[in-house]
């Protein structure tokens, strides 16, 4: 029996967000929401899909040295909040072998990476991560 740790339907439903950072933009007030919301703060329920820009600035970050068993082999893990066109997005920071070199305000780009996989035989979950453009080493 193959382990199925994360529900496949749950992953499949969120592919537009995981793969492309698909947000929604309110037709009335232009507010952008990521992840998408059903009702805008202005009360409107009418949205258009809107892909967030793939470059932005790192606002805040943290480095985890104790991580869950799925990510033990990738320690230390860095996570950050990036400003992508005015929208704050939380994501893993990659290609950063020396997280001590990270700095707030650093330019980051959105990259497409493996996030997790269910053992050697289950599904591979792909999604976005954030990468410092100038690196950190």
């Amino acid at each position: 029996m193959v382990d199925q740790n994360l529900s496949v339907p749950k992953y499949w439903r969120k592919i537009p967000q995981y793969y492309r950072l698909t947000a929604v933009k309110c037709r009335k007030c232009d507010r952008v929401y990521f992840p998408p919301r059903a009702v805008c703060e202005c009360g409107s329920r009418e949205f258009d899909e809107y892909e967030l820009p793939r470059r932005g600035k790192l606002i805040e970050y943290t480095v985890l040295r104790s991580v869950t068993s799925d990510f033990e082999k990738q320690r230390p893990l860095a996570f950050g909040i990036a400003d992508l066109g005015g929208v704050r997005v939380f994501g893993q920071l990659v290609d950063c072998p020396n997280p001590d070199k990270l700095s707030e305000g650093a330019e980051v780009e959105v990259v497409f990476r493996r996030v997790k996989e269910d053992s050697d035989y289950g599904i591979i979950y792909y999604g976005f991560k954030l990468r410092p453009v100038k690196g950190c080493w």
Binding site: I15, P16, Y19, R20, T22, E51, R54, K73, Q74, V94, D95, P97, V111, F112, R113, R114, V115, S119, D120, I124, Y126, K129, G135, W137
Partner: protein
């Protein structure tokens, strides 16, 4: 109808390992190894990178350079010999990652290192027939080299993507010529973690015979000579082979050197010669005539006669260049290499 390249994109991971570092781990003479293959270092994907993620990165840049909407793409073909899934396509992941429409012809192709170039040929046919307006051809690989074996010195990691169409061309593909046969030079059996070389078959009966067959066939049919080309780009399993095949065909070194990337990133298999082409497109002037010959073990080659247009220079800076990615690197040691390539097998996952 003129068909050709509308946009291109490449992806090279940030991590590199030097040939010297691998040689020290296995007690080889690093100078001798470098002299054999002329490979200084190779690109290594991080633990979360694979042919799918690299294909997405390269394709995004190809679409950016093409300046077309994803909805205009009618086909996406991915050439690879290192699929993360034995059954489940890369091309369907590309559809959603690139936001293509659902009405897209999509398939993964395999012919060792040649399939990416077959993707281009197939898309040319679909464009010419009017079935599609644009198509994306991808060559992407993170292939296997058994630790301690010589293949480990050259097996690199990378991807390249081309948007093929008939309008707004940066380079017209004026002619193609195939040459293929059943030649057992290199294979990987189903379920086997590492490929095997057919002893003595790698060079003359495989690489040289097929590349020369395709290149000569193309030139003879068109009445062209090496002098008629500004650049010649060949599949590059190491840096010695493309230089030698160029000499055999009569191309001077200065026409071959600009398209060689293997010395700095290793053999990227389905991306190999096509990544060399991407690098040449970054420096070629309009009206440049380029010969590209790919090669896949098993064995076969596709030769392409490509001529750049006036639109080329303005598209170069629209996305990451191969030149920039060759410079953007972090060196790792052999232990990190084993970890990133998942060569260390954990008993408990």
């Amino acid at each position: 109808m003129a068909v050709g390249i509308v946009g291109w994109g490449a992806y090279i991971p940030r991590y590199r390992i030097k040939t010297r570092e691998i040689a020290e781990a296995w007690g080889d003479d690093a100078l001798r190894i470098r002299d054999m293959y002329l490979v200084e270092e190779k690109a290594v994907g991080y633990i979360d990178e694979d042919p799918v993620t690299m294909a997405v990165e390269a394709s995004r840049d190809a679409l950016t350079r093409a300046g077309i909407a994803p909805s205009e793409v009618g086909a996406v073909f991915a050439g690879t010999e290192s699929k993360p899934y034995a059954v489940k396509p890369i091309s369907s992941i590309l559809i959603d990652a690139l936001n293509l429409k659902r009405q897209v012809y999509s398939v993964d192709m395999e012919f060792a290192c040649k399939a990416g170039s077959d993707a281009i040929v197939n898309l040319m046919g679909l464009v010419k027939s009017g079935l599609i307006k644009y198509g994306i051809a991808v060559g992407t690989d993170s292939s296997q080299g058994e630790p301690g074996e010589h293949l480990e010195y050259t097996v690199g990691t990378g991807a390249v993507a081309y948007v093929i169409g008939a309008t707004n061309l940066v380079a017209e593909i004026k002619y193609t010529y195939p040459f293929a046969s059943d030649t057992p030079d290199f294979w990987r059996r189903d379920g086997s973690p590492y490929p095997v070389h057919g002893e003595g078959f790698t060079g003359e009966p495989a690489y040289f015979r097929h590349i020369i067959g395709a290149a000569k066939g193309l030139m003879e049919e068109l009445g062209m000579k090496p002098n008629d080309f500004d650049y010649a780009i060949f599949h590059q399993p190491n840096a010695r082979f493309p230089v030698r095949v160029a000499q055999m065909l009569g191309f001077p070194l200065e026409k071959v050197k600009p398209g060689i990337v293997v010395d700095l990133i290793g053999n990227t298999y389905n991306a190999s010669a096509l990544l060399g082409l991407a690098k040449v497109l970054e420096e070629a002037k309009p009206g440049s005539r380029i010969l590209v010959v790919t090669f896949g073990s098993g064995a076969g080659s596709n030769a392409f006669y490509i001529e750049t247009t006036d639109l080329l220079p303005s598209r170069v800076k629209l996305a990451r260049t191969v030149g920039e990615m060759l410079e953007d690197k972090v060196y790792i040691d052999y232990s990190l290499y084993l970890k990133y390539r998942k060569i260390i097998r954990m008993i408990h996952g």
